[in-house]
Symmetry: C2
Subunit: 227 residues, 2 copies
DNA sequence: GTCTATACACAGATAGAC
DNA sequence: GTCTATCTGTGTATAGAC
């Protein structure tokens, strides 16, 4: 599976975050028509990414957001109760989306080696497809409340465990070498994160997602596979 | 070399950032006595790290900083012209320190494998010794001006090149396998960064710097060494 | 060198017309 | 649903006393 295939497959399963946000937060937002809400949420999220990419969420003013979306301050406050809540909503929804997709891919394979490849690829491809979301959730995680940050830790540990479980399982049947599988899982996650944290670098060096993913897999397999 | 040995060795060569900041910025700050300046700069930097760790630089107010340092607003402005300039000063000094140390370690070895080990270790150990500085410069890099961010890119490429040059050199004499050495260098950097970006994770899992560094070296050597 | 007091810009948020 | 106008708190920065 390469990135284009992943993209096609995932587009079908419906990656519409704005609609999910609307459905989950109907109680709190004053907009009732789904189509209006989804259209404007899309505009709002895009504007948030564009503004915060260079200066962070705290430095974005509601007036910045109003200017970029073309919506008035009053209109914006019909979509979320406050600036902090907007951040929380975005972080929560992004986490749910990542968790769901990774589990889906993890359950689709039985053989440890195939499973490992699929999960690693899926994470990098997903981070490419939703790059602004990944970058944003990473960089703004520390602005969250204690509970919000606990949720961040929790998903980090969860995805790490998905990887280390695969390695343990593979060791049992002799496919992978023994070793500290938790630390190896951490290293894999570090390499995956590199892709969306250093966007400028790989754009400049003209390295594609597929090239990058291939190299990560080479390194992981070179280290993990039993001789 | 383990972390404790590194710590001892580096403490001798003088890692006093505050003094360096004082010497470099005498023209711009109103304090003339070195001892006073260094003492208070230490307080200021420590306060910045403590405040920004959880909410970022933009969200730190000068009143926060005044409260944490015990210095008045007026006094603070005697040490730097403005909030933005304080950020720039800290980023610049941190970069100079890292660059200097890594080159020092890179030049101390000839054999590619030894050199690779030394450089990888030195970077992780340095990031442990100056963890607040590393975390801060990474997370706040995007608040910089265009020139400031160019400097960030430049040092990223510089340290990447140090690594890839070693790999190229080692391939020539048959120690390392052929491959995309630039991408491998990127992966190494990603793993190194992991150490200071996810402090909470390794503290919780009780993994020491030496353990972490050992695992990075294992992975790199497992992948790079020629059979 | 360090303090207090203050200027003045801009932040988040809301009310009420349309 | 969306707008304009406005309230009120807080931000960075400076002046001038000690």
């Amino acid at each position: 599976m390469n990135y284009n295939q992943f993209k096609k497959q995932y587009a079908d399963s419906g990656g519409d975050i704005s609609r999910a946000v609307f459905l989950k937060n109907q109680g709190v937002m004053r907009i009732k028509k789904e189509k209006t809400a989804v259209t404007n949420l899309n505009k709002i999220f895009a504007a948030v990414f564009s503004i915060t990419y260079n200066k962070g969420y705290q430095a974005m003013s509601m007036r910045d957001l109003s200017l970029k979306t073309g919506m008035s301050l009053g209109a914006l406050y019909a979509y979320f109760p406050g600036k902090d809540e907007l951040l929380a909503i975005m972080q929560t929804q992004a986490r749910a989306m990542v968790k769901g997709t990774l589990e889906e891919f993890s359950n689709a394979y039985k053989d440890p080696l195939e499973k490992l490849r699929a999960v690693i690829k899926a994470h990098i491809f997903l981070s490419e497809l939703f790059r602004p979301w990944f970058y944003f959730t990473f960089m703004e995680a520390r602005n969250l409340t204690t509970q919000g940050f606990d949720a961040v830790k929790s998903i980090e540990e969860h995805t790490q465990k998905i990887l280390s479980d695969i390695l343990v399982q593979g060791e049992k049947i002799g496919v992978f070498k023994p070793g500290n599988h938790d630390l190896t899982a951490c290293m894999i996650k570090a390499m995956q994160q590199e892709w969306y944290l250093k966007r400028w670098k790989y754009a400049k060096q003209k390295i594609s997602v597929d090239q990058f993913t291939g190299h990560v897999l080479e390194m992981v397999e070179g280290f993990c596979l039993a001789p």
